[in-house]
Symmetry: C2
Subunit: 344 residues, 2 copies
Amino acid sequence: MSEPRTELSSLGEFGLIEHLTRNIELQNASSILGVGDDAAVIDHFGKQTVVSTDLLLEGIHFDLAYTPLKHLGYKSVIVNISDIYAMNATPTQIVISIGLSNRFSLESLDEFYEGVYAACEKYGVDLVGGDTTSSQKGFIISVTAIGEVAPDKFVKRSTAKKGDLICVSGDLGGAYVGLLYLEREKRIFMESPGVQPDLENQTYVIGRLLKPEARKDIIEFLAQAEIQPSAMMDISDGLSSEILHICKDSGLGCRLYEEKLPVSEEMRMAAFKFEIDPTACALSGGEDYELLFTISQEEHDKLVLNEQISVIGYMTDADQGSAIITKGGGQHPITAQGWNHLAQ
Amino acid sequence: MSEPRTELSSLGEFGLIEHLTRNIELQNASSILGVGDDAAVIDHFGKQTVVSTDLLLEGIHFDLAYTPLKHLGYKSVIVNISDIYAMNATPTQIVISIGLSNRFSLESLDEFYEGVYAACEKYGVDLVGGDTTSSQKGFIISVTAIGEVAPDKFVKRSTAKKGDLICVSGDLGGAYVGLLYLEREKRIFMESPGVQPDLENQTYVIGRLLKPEARKDIIEFLAQAEIQPSAMMDISDGLSSEILHICKDSGLGCRLYEEKLPVSEEMRMAAFKFEIDPTACALSGGEDYELLFTISQEEHDKLVLNEQISVIGYMTDADQGSAIITKGGGQHPITAQGWNHLAQ
């Protein structure tokens, strides 16, 4: 028995939008007017508005061969609201535009939106608008997230100070080795379509890639502990690339300690299987969506009890450069090996 | 001598963003933090924030065979801020994401951004963020516009009242016949590449398609004349499609008068050349980005002197249906023949 398939053309553009947005219940008092007009209206009286946008393209940012659509919808929201949290702000609304070819059925689009709505619900965000169009090729997703922050409490990348401690949430490199597993299984499947995927219970690292979370909990912890980071950003391209942004924008250098880099046991074991260095994965693997931030040394005591936060180094003068101190005591310059799509 | 060509890959993603945004000077006091961080920060204290987003895809929304990149950049901004004006709001910021393949050089991308910045300057809008990525195929543009409006002064589609007058700005159908000209010239060029295009001085209608403007002047006039429209939207899909949205969302019907539809002499002559009915172009041609709005009859006197506004009909009870009264006195139901991309 085949799955039901409803052609998108049978609904038309406006019918489709009505279908996809029929169950929206706005969660935020600031969401004055949502989907269904020329624009949405938001009331952030007394707060500052934060805006971030991301474009996700099939074949560049995701591969539908191993990305369930529901996960993709979820991740599309996470990627964006992670940027809002990285400003020390709270996401409140998103608008989402999609371009899709006729090979998508209504049922598959529903799956995608199931993920979108699941993320919206979990993070208390309202979907308030968007645009839906056909594409000639590939699935195109554009998400813009709006958030709010108390006046001048937002945290930039450019305001780290010499001597500040460098902190990171969660663990790093997991999404990258998850990607290696999925790419390997795809290759095997392409060569021998009958072979069942052997993901060796790599649910942790694969979950890191396919269904990341945004670190709302860290932002809430920082507020509760009354820690105002001096600089912050989220880790989408890899730790090396991101810390170099903070160094450059703040006019400073840094020292990281290899032994302090937070890595999961699952990531470490997987890296060994692929015969790559777990430290390289932690430094250059992207898409973990953890938070990287700096705090003054005086605030150190406030976060030692939070096991989700690791202190991995400190900021130096610019003329010290940016380097990592290895477990053996050596010192290597940090270079950006982030996922530079344009160089591919 | 060939044009200089700089490969995008020579800059890298961050180098490219720096290059494209190097000349930005923020114009709005509300633009607290612009390009270069995880998100932008906007301060709309005491006002409500309005958000709109559009996705523009090569091959669906534009054809680079006859669309200069500078015009495309300009239009990408206009299309979006037109939605903000249609809420009776003022656009203040945009974020713009682009996906592009290696066939684009830095020089061509600069041309596109020249148009983006020209529109930003003309309309007093700040570019405050975005995302730049490679695409496997085609040029992808996603724009999100943010605006502000005095509390509860925004105008929806759903609040027209029975007896209200239906008004439209400017003239209609021009962009559509402009498209017919350009498509014809493209066909001729494809068949005989040596033949020079003969656009017969159709600069007005071609300009309507390639370089539309948003009706900032109308919103300013309405504010100055103290006219609060009861419903409003912009005309992107065509008058028929848009007035049916207002009727449906407001639970009403309407009567339009063919003789009142504003059409330019250039559009009318061009329509005759293509042997199509100018009224059909005015009703169903999209992309004019004029404003369609309703006002109470008492406000009629306030706008009679504005030659840029035409009263084209009135709202009725829903059971009267939606119809146009022809010059001959006949009555025809209005049907949406808007540019439905998904039905193509």
